[in-house]
Symmetry: C2
C-alpha cells in the first residue's frame, strides 16, 4: 500500500477523523427490562410498534431512530448527504421501507450483525474522503421478525439450546460529520470472511468468534497497538460462548484480554433475571448498545478509546439447509473521545 | 455542500477518476443463446455450474467472474484492498459463499439490481479518497434461484404476465485501480428511494422507472449536462415497459432520449427468438452487460462517454404479501474512455 491513510493490511487511519454529531436508539420490551434501559431514547413494549406486522414494526423502529438522531442534531433529512443502512430481513426491507419517506441518498448494506460497524466504516471514509459533510449509519433487528424468518414462528414455542441467543428488538443510528464535538472515528478495519466450518445455526457465537479474532488481530497489527491501550473493546453479539472463544484465541497468542473486553450481547440483558441463554444478538444489539450506553458513556468521560467490532454471520436458512457452514465477518471502528 | 469534489445534490466528481483495470462476466444457457454471447468470458449451459444446488451454482458463477477478472489483470486476491459485492439471494449468500476462500476484505451490499452501480460507486470513492489502490465490484443473479425465492419453484411452470422479466443467470466483476488504461469512473450519483405505489411484483419495470428518472435527472442537473452529451445511457433492467416510462418522463420535461438510451434488459436476449416477455432482469443482467459488451466496446472505441444507471426494486416477498408497494432505487456512474 502506498497511500498514507492506509496503514497496510486492512486498516485505514482517517486523516481528519469524522465526529459523531448525534446518536439515537430504540428498543422493545426486553430492552426496557434490561440493565441498559436508561440509555435508550425510546422504549416501547408493543412489539408491533403501532404497526400491523412485526416487519413494519421493525421499519418503524428504524424510522424513529433516524428521526431521533436528526432531532438531537437539529438536522433535517436533506442535511444528510448519505445514509448507509441494512438489516437482517430478507432483502433488507427494514431499512428500505423505513427510509422511503426521507429522500436521503441511500447505500444499502448487508453485513448481517456487523452492519453497525460496516455502515460506520463506510460513512467515515465517505466523509474523510471529502465526498460528504454528514452521513448517517443505521441498522436494526427484531426478535419476532428474525425468529420467523430464520427459525420458527414464535407461537410454535420451539425449545432453544443453551448456545442460542436472543435477537434484540432494537435499532440504532449514528450521524457523523466532518466537524463536531466528538467522539471521533479514527480508524476503520474492513474484515475478511472467516469460516471455520461451524454448521450449527444455533451457535452463532462460535461461528463468528474466529472472524472477530481475525479482524481485531489485524487492527492491533496494522496500528501497532495492543489491547491494553484501549479502555473498551467491544464485540457485537458473540454472546457468552463466542466471547470466551475470542479470549482463548488471544490467550494462545500470549495476549490476555481483561475485563475491558466486553460483548454487547452480554450487556444488553440481565442474564440472571432475563433468561436469554447465551446472550443478545442481532444487528440491533450492537447498534443500540453503541448508540446509547457506549457513545453516551464516552460523552460523559467513561471511556476515552473504544474499539467497536461487531460481527456478522453470513448464513441464510437456505445455506444451512444445503449443509453449508456459517461464514463470519467482523468490521472494526476505533472511536476516540479526543483527536 | 462545501467540498469541491461534491457537485451539490447527489453527485460526486472524482478528483482522480479510478480506472477499470479488468472486467469479466459469466453467463448461462439463455445468455449463450443471446446476441451478446460473444462478449462473455465464460458461458455454461449447466444451470448448476457443476454444483449440487442452484444457489451454490450462483456462488460458483461469482467465484469464476472474480477469478477471471483477477487473471486478466495479472493479480492475486491479496492485491485487492476491498471487494464490494452483493446479490438477490436472501442474506446475499451468492457473494458471501463465493468470497469465502479469497481472503479479500469485504463490504457486503444490498442494492437489489442496482448493486453493480452501487458497488462501482463505493469502490470508486474508496480509491479516489485514498483508502485503496485496487478494489473489485461484483454481483450476480440466477433465474432458478430467483424464481424459487421470489415467485414459484421453476418446475411448477407458472404462467408469467407480459410485464414479467426473465432473471439473467449471470455474474459480472469489475476491478478498479487508482491508475490504469481506462475507461475511467468520473462521476457517481447516489440514488434516493423512490416509491410511486406500484404493488404488482410482476411489473418491476414500472416500479423502478421513477427511480431511474430521479437519479438520471439528478445526474444531469448536478453535472449541468444533457443526455445528448453521452454516447450511451444505460439503465440496468427496466425492460420494455420501464424503458419507455423513463423516455416518457424525460419527454414531459422537454428532453428527448434518442436511441442512445438503452436498457441492459433489452440487450441481453434476442427478444424475437427468445421469449423473455418484457426483457431481462436481475443483478447479473446489468453486471454481465457492463462487464463485457459495454466495457469491451469502450476499449474498442465504440463509445467514449457512458452513463450506467442500474435500478433496484427494494421489495421482498414478505413486503408484497403484506400489501406494500415496491420502492425503487438507482445508482449512476459515469464512465469515460479518456480523462
Amino acid at each position: 500500500m502506498i497511500h498514507n491513510k492506509h496503514l497496510g493490511g486492512q486498516t485505514v487511519a482517517l486523516a481528519h477523523p469524522p465526529s459523531v454529531l448525534s446518536f439515537a436508539n430504540v428498543g422493545g420490551k426486553q430492552e426496557q427490562e434490561g440493565p441498559l434501559a436508561d440509555w435508550f431514547d425510546l422504549l416501547n413494549d408493543d412489539s408491533f410498534f403501532g404497526e400491523k406486522t412485526w416487519e413494519k414494526g421493525e421499519s418503524a423502529m428504524q424510522k424513529a431512530a433516524l428521526q431521533q438522531a436528526l432531532d438531537k442534531a437539529g438536522l433535517q433529512p436533506g442535511d444528510l448527504d448519505y445514509i448507509l443502512a441494512g438489516d437482517l430481513l430478507n432483502q433488507c426491507i427494514g431499512s428500505a421501507f423505513s427510509l422511503r419517506q426521507f429522500g436521503i441518498p441511500f447505500y444499502g448494506l448487508y453485513g448481517a450483525c456487523s452492519t453497525m460497524g460496516e455502515s460506520l466504516a463506510l460513512a467515515s471514509m465517505l466523509i474523510d474522503g471529502g465526498f460528504a459533510q454528514r452521513a448517517a449509519a443505521m441498522t436494526s433487528s427484531h426478535f419476532c421478525t428474525a425468529e420467523r424468518q430464520y427459525r420458527m414462528p414464535v407461537p410454535y414455542g420451539s425449545q432453544r439450546p443453551p448456545t442460542a441467543q436472543w435477537t434484540a428488538t432494537a435499532a440504532g443510528c449514528t450521524i457523523l460529520a466532518a466537524e463536531g464535538p466528538g467522539p471521533y472515528i479514527t480508524h476503520v478495519t474492513c474484515g475478511k470472511i472467516v469460516d471455520k466450518g461451524i454448521t450449527d445455526a444455533n451457535n452463532m457465537g462460535a461461528a463468528m468468534a474466529p472472524a472477530a479474532y481475525d479482524t481485531l488481530s489485524a487492527f492491533f497489527r496494522d496500528t501497532n497497538t495492543s489491547p491494553s491501550q484501549y479502555d473498551l473493546i467491544l464485540t457485537g453479539d458473540l454472546g457468552e460462548l463466542g466471547h470466551s472463544i475470542v479470549r482463548d484465541f488471544f490467550q494462545r497468542d500470549g495476549v490476555t484480554l481483561d475485563s475491558r473486553y466486553q460483548d454487547c450481547g452480554l450487556l444488553l440483558y440481565d442474564r440472571q433475571q432475563q433468561d436469554m441463554h447465551a446472550g443478545a444478538s442481532g444487528c440491533g444489539c450492537a447498534a443500540s448498545v453503541l448508540n446509547g450506553y457506549v457513545l453516551g458513556g464516552m460523552r460523559e468521560g467513561k471511556w476515552k478509546k473504544v474499539l467497536f467490532a461487531p460481527t456478522g454471520a453470513l448464513l441464510s436458512p437456505t445455506s444451512s439447509f444445503q449443509g453449508e457452514s456459517v461464514p463470519g465477518i467482523c468490521h472494526a471502528v476505533c472511536i476516540c473521545a479526543e483527536v
